[in-house]
Symmetry: C2
Subunit: 208 residues, 2 copies
Amino acid sequence: MGISERKEREREEVKDLILNAAREIFLSEGYENTSIRKIASKIEYSPGTIYLHYKDKNELLLALHDKAFECKMKSLFIDVQDIADPLERLKATGRSYLQYGIDNPQDYELMFILTCTMDALAIKEEFWSDGAMAIGMLKENVKACVDAGYFRKDIDLDETSLLLWSQVHGITSLYNTERLNIYTTEDKKGFMFRTLDVFFSIITHGLA
Amino acid sequence: MGISERKEREREEVKDLILNAAREIFLSEGYENTSIRKIASKIEYSPGTIYLHYKDKNELLLALHDKAFECKMKSLFIDVQDIADPLERLKATGRSYLQYGIDNPQDYELMFILTCTMDALAIKEEFWSDGAMAIGMLKENVKACVDAGYFRKDIDLDETSLLLWSQVHGITSLYNTERLNIYTTEDKKGFMFRTLDVFFSIITHGLA
DNA sequence: TGCAATATTGAACACTGTTCAATATATTTG
DNA sequence: CAAATATATTGAACAGTGTTCAATATTGCA
């Protein structure tokens, strides 16, 4: 039964074709300007065809979200695993997160800001496993900092991970949504990284 | 010339009528579902009428943003001015900000997440004065903490204000965009406020 | 070749923001 | 008061949106 296998492969190819076209438009034109009709015309298919592979637009955006996470996970948590010192590894992860967020604002929006992705997950009754995995790795890193004596033994892993995550997310999202323009600093990016360093300096003093 | 004054007043009344209808729909149905036609039909006017008072939808949303800020400024920064101790005042402001953000997610989105408001400001070549004022007050509070000996004298006011702002903004926005669902904690709100308290405890140790 | 299964289409539906000539109302002038 | 002017308001039209579904085209198998 090689035919049904080929059919399945062809289906998957079209699905990928849609996803890649969607990603191109999404990255160059942003969330608001990514329409089903634009995607369809880019790959020379009818708009209806997209609905044969994705239930609705949110599910397609969730697929883009997954792809973004796939890339990010690799470049973010995997690459810094080489750093032996847990505190330095934690700092490197934070800086990497911020850098990724400001370099890829559209992807970042999909991963951590837009709710359409969470809506798509809720309808499928699925868990936000990508986010959970990222936070899981962060918590492991915090735990390693505790074990190495950098942080107190009685800190709460959940609270501490949220503290770290929300700090870098806060800086990243305020920058991406143009809220930092009220600061007169010429070099906004340098300003953000310096602020992040202030944060790192206070957690070593405060949590030690 | 009482007639032109009355005309001006009537114009302002219609403009307010539009704004209030827009606010009602915006608060109950959210950003995505607030359409010009819905607003128009609610006040029994034609869609075209709205464009006689607001250049486009972004300008109308900016007006909603302004209204939200007006209310927030009062309830947030003014109310806590009674607290004499600058550090306690700072903590109260942070908790108040978080509470406001989770109680008024739509308004919060308009004020600190959506870019349509910043776009509207950019076109009018205006500054984000509401944001600048809020941060100005935050910086004054930080300065008072320095003067009172809570924080070191050599800290940077810009960096420290961003540190504080992005921390509370990070927690607020992650909650509002449903990203905190990966934490198994039953009481999410308590979890956020506890995390904020961890932050306050580390800044007093670290910045002192 | 004929029949069944699958794939694809594109028109249709109910929306969206925005514009603008036509119309209605109100004010001023002769 | 009537005519002319100025202002206010309309609603159809335009180009777009997500989504559905009967009709059509393509493919696989007997």
